[in-house]
């Protein structure tokens, strides 16, 4: 307990709805999506309920308390270092028996605990009828039913939390078969005086037995060889019971207990095969699945463009009018330049970014919540292996379309550091919302949607080539894919809206001010004619190598802050409005410019997260990779188009 504020942690298996539940209590703070491994770090919030403050922590999902993945270790740290006052074990009720295995393991901690049966709506759809009182009796802890997406049951949960914190009842762990219990009791007895007891002696003994060949074991053999020998003997005895390693025997005991509880407390009526199951079969089909995959992405792109481009031209008009009014009023004074910069920054955000950003967020949210990310991983796994990665990286690439920053954070769920680095180096090449805006607003709007679609595929092609290059560099030994495929769900509009809102808030409070400030700054620089100095310095690259107008040099500097800035600045730098752009530059120049801007460097936020997550070396490597790829690819585009 810190400062008297009770600490409550949400623990559960991946994708059971912890973050959704957390958000419905604490307001939207944690990312949610229908993919196991969405939350990779702890999210913490103070909640006021009936005049009391509670500190609630949302944790990454974990399948067991013997963690395998880095984000799962976060859970153990929280349990042992921060000593929560109450554990709220969230369960996907439609996967009750499997989820109870973790519950039984948590009960062994003998911490005050509540079990939440979430996704009751899905359980019902699957034909599972749960007798909650019976579960309560069997587990010896309060059990609450919720449907987190609809906020159903959250009040009851808070009331139960309040009560549990007052009563502070410690549950007892499950009882295993006699032979196993005997060995656990023996290990408890021979635990050395100085052995670090976590939670309680029984839990410590069980984890010591289970810890065969793990870090615990090394610790034990280094500290107390006599104990190690005794422990090994008990392990062998347990192992002999079922002709399997001791950890498997104990895990199997939990497995069977969980099944037993499930059978005693639940009735399963035969579920009807619903339309959604049929759809699921179609999109996972080994042949048709790929067709749908293409269709989904092309359709998504088309829809964003179809919604965005009329909005864009409609929204642009008033800003153009304001701009010309200012020019007429103030001529070319400093004031006029600054005002125009301001108008371009504000207007650019509203007219150019929003029309594409919002539909993109909506469609991404839809795919995420439906559960398509995991399915795409399944379909593309074999393909990814050829590129030296595996299917588990697919969701990160898809997330990258929204923003590269959370995509790089999400690489934490990859088991090997090698895979993490390679994926994180490739993510900055995925056209994020900012770059999609540039591609759609420039290429699709000015050259036509087919050009933009072509550009997208070209972009994927570049990523594939780079992956092959990186595969030579980093020795490839990807472990095979192990990924739970969550059930296909009908996305809740509320949850999608919350995601859009969350991202928009980010954009409005962080990116947009940068856009506006950058735009004003550029006006100021050009008034002082300082931009010419920058342009002159960059001229060998911009004009010499890429064949672009010299005045575009300065836009690249701003593109490092936010990719959209390059786009907005482009008009300002060339001194033309949207409609007249094609009068001052050629098609080739436009393509070269967009290519260079999309690739040339990860934006500031992406670079900082790379640095933070994977270190300076990887960040520098990323810059070098981007810069060289951008130069080579844009130069190639220039070369190829000069042939025609």
């Amino acid at each position: 307990m810190n400062d008297g504020v009770p600490v409550i942690v949400f623990i559960g298996q991946p994708n059971c709805g912890k973050s959704t539940l957390f958000n419905s209590i604490a307001g939207y703070k944690a990312q949610t999506s229908n993919f196991p491994g969405t939350t990779v770090t702890h999210v913490h919030s103070e909640v006021l309920w009936k005049g009391e403050i509670y500190s609630i922590v949302d944790l990454p999902g974990t399948y067991s308390l013997s963690p395998h993945e880095p984000q799962e270790k976060v859970v153990l740290t929280h349990i042992f270092k921060e000593k929560p006052d109450l554990i709220v074990n969230v369960i996907d009720a439609s996967l009750l028996s499997r989820s109870l295995e973790l519950t039984l393991e948590l009960l062994e901690l003998e911490y005050p605990m509540i079990v939440v049966l979430n996704m009751m709506d899905l359980a019902r759809k699957k034909g599972i009828v749960i007798n909650v009182e019976e579960v309560e009796r069997k587990l010896g802890v309060p059990v609450v039913k919720t449907v987190a997406t609809r906020g159903f049951g959250t009040d009851n949960l808070m009331a139960t939390i309040e009560k549990a914190l007052k009563l502070k009842i410690r549950p007892t762990g499950p009882h295993y078969s006699r032979e196993v219990e005997k060995r656990i009791a023996e290990v408890m007895d021979i635990l050395p005086e100085d052995f670090p007891v976590v939670a309680n002696k029984r839990f410590t003994a069980i984890k010591a037995i289970e810890g065969e060949m793990l870090a615990v074991d090394k610790f034990i053999s280094e500290h107390n060889l006599a104990f190690k020998r005794e422990l090994d003997r008990r392990r062998q005895e347990i192992s002999a019971l079922r002709d399997a390693p001791a950890y498997e025997v104990i895990s199997a005991e939990r497995h069977h207990l969980a099944l037993k509880i499930f059978e005693d407390c639940c009735r399963v009526t035969r579920p009807k095969i619903s339309a959604i199951d049929k759809l699921d079969n179609l999109i996972m089909d080994p042949v048709l699945g790929y067709f749908f995959l293409l269709l989904i992405f092309a359709g998504m792109f088309y829809l964003i463009f179809k919604v965005g481009s009329p909005l864009e031209s409609w929204l642009l008009q008033p800003w153009e009018t304001i701009k010309s009014t200012i020019e007429n009023q103030f001529g070319h004074s400093l004031l006029a330049e600054l005002l125009i910069g301001l108008v371009q920054g504000i207007g650019g955000g509203i007219a150019i970014v929003f029309p594409y950003f919002i539909p993109l967020l909506f469609l991404m949210g839809f795919l995420e919540d439906a559960g398509y990310l995991a399915r795409a991983s399944f379909l593309l796994d074999a393909f990814m292996h050829r590129l030296g990665l595996h299917g588990k990286s697919v969701p990160m690439f898809i997330l990258g379309f929204g923003c590269n920053v959370p995509a790089i954070m999400a690489t934490r769920i990859l088991e090997s550091r090698r895979d993490r680095i390679v994926t994180a180096l490739l993510i900055p090449f995925v056209p994020c919302a900012a770059r999609t805006t540039i591609i759609l607003a420039l290429i699709a709007f000015l050259l036509g949607p087919w050009w933009a679609l072509g550009f997208y595929f070209f972009n994927f092609f570049v990523i594939a080539i780079l992956a092959l290059i990186l595969k030579r560099w980093f020795k490839y030994d990807s472990p095979g894919l192990i990924l739970e495929i969550p059930s296909l769900k009908v996305p809740s509009l509320k949850s999608i809206w919350q995601k859009i809102y969350f991202n928009l808030k980010e954009f409005v409070s962080f990116a947009w001010p940068i856009l506006i400030a950058g735009s004003v700054l550029l006006s100021f620089l050009s008034y002082l004619r300082f931009d010419r100095v920058i342009n002159a310095v960059l001229s060998p690259l911009v004009t010499g190598l890429l064949g672009l107008p010299q005045s575009l040099g300065v836009t690249l500097i701003f593109g490092f802050l936010r990719k959209e800035l390059s786009l907005l600045m482009m008009f300002q730098a060339l001194g033309v409005g949207y409609g007249q752009l094609m009068a001052v530059i050629t098609k080739t120049q436009l393509l070269t410019f967009v290519t260079f801007v999309t690739f040339f460097i990860p934006c500031l936020s992406t670079l900082s997260i790379l640095w933070k997550e994977l270190g300076k070396k990887v960040a520098i490597m990323s810059v070098a990779l981007n810069l060289s790829a951008a130069v080579v690819v844009s130069w190639l585009i220039r070369l190829v188009s000069s042939l025609f």
Binding site: S97, H255, A382
Partner: protein, 99 residues
């Protein structure tokens, strides 16, 4: 759906009492896990995911190009995509008497 095109040797039903890996079985057949081979890390991971010897499983789908297989654990109700190398380490036999 659309006629499963498996390799002809693979489509052979599993011989009664015979042991084979999850990559060598036809889709849709109800099988029982007999043993999980492979490294200890893999073993533990699959146990944590709720795959235990004795569980009934069925192969639902196989991705193209030697891609992963989709395995449904009928006992637990969960579905997991497993890379072929991993599926090879899960040994199964035909579940006797069950539908």
């Amino acid at each position: 759906m659309f006629g499963k095109k498996n390799n002809n040797q693979r489509i052979d039903p599993v011989p009664p009492g015979g042991l084979c890996s999850l990559t060598e079985v036809p889709e849709g057949e109800v099988l029982k896990i007999v043993e999980i081979r492979g490294s200890q890390g893999l073993h533990r991971r699959l146990l944590a995911l709720g795959f235990h010897p004795g569980d009934l499983v069925t192969l639902e789908n196989e991705a193209l190009m030697n891609g992963p297989v989709l395995v449904k654990n009928l006992t637990m109700g969960s579905r997991v995509a497993l890379g072929r190398g991993i599926a090879q380490k899960i040994m199964v036999e035909v579940a006797a008497g069950d539908e």
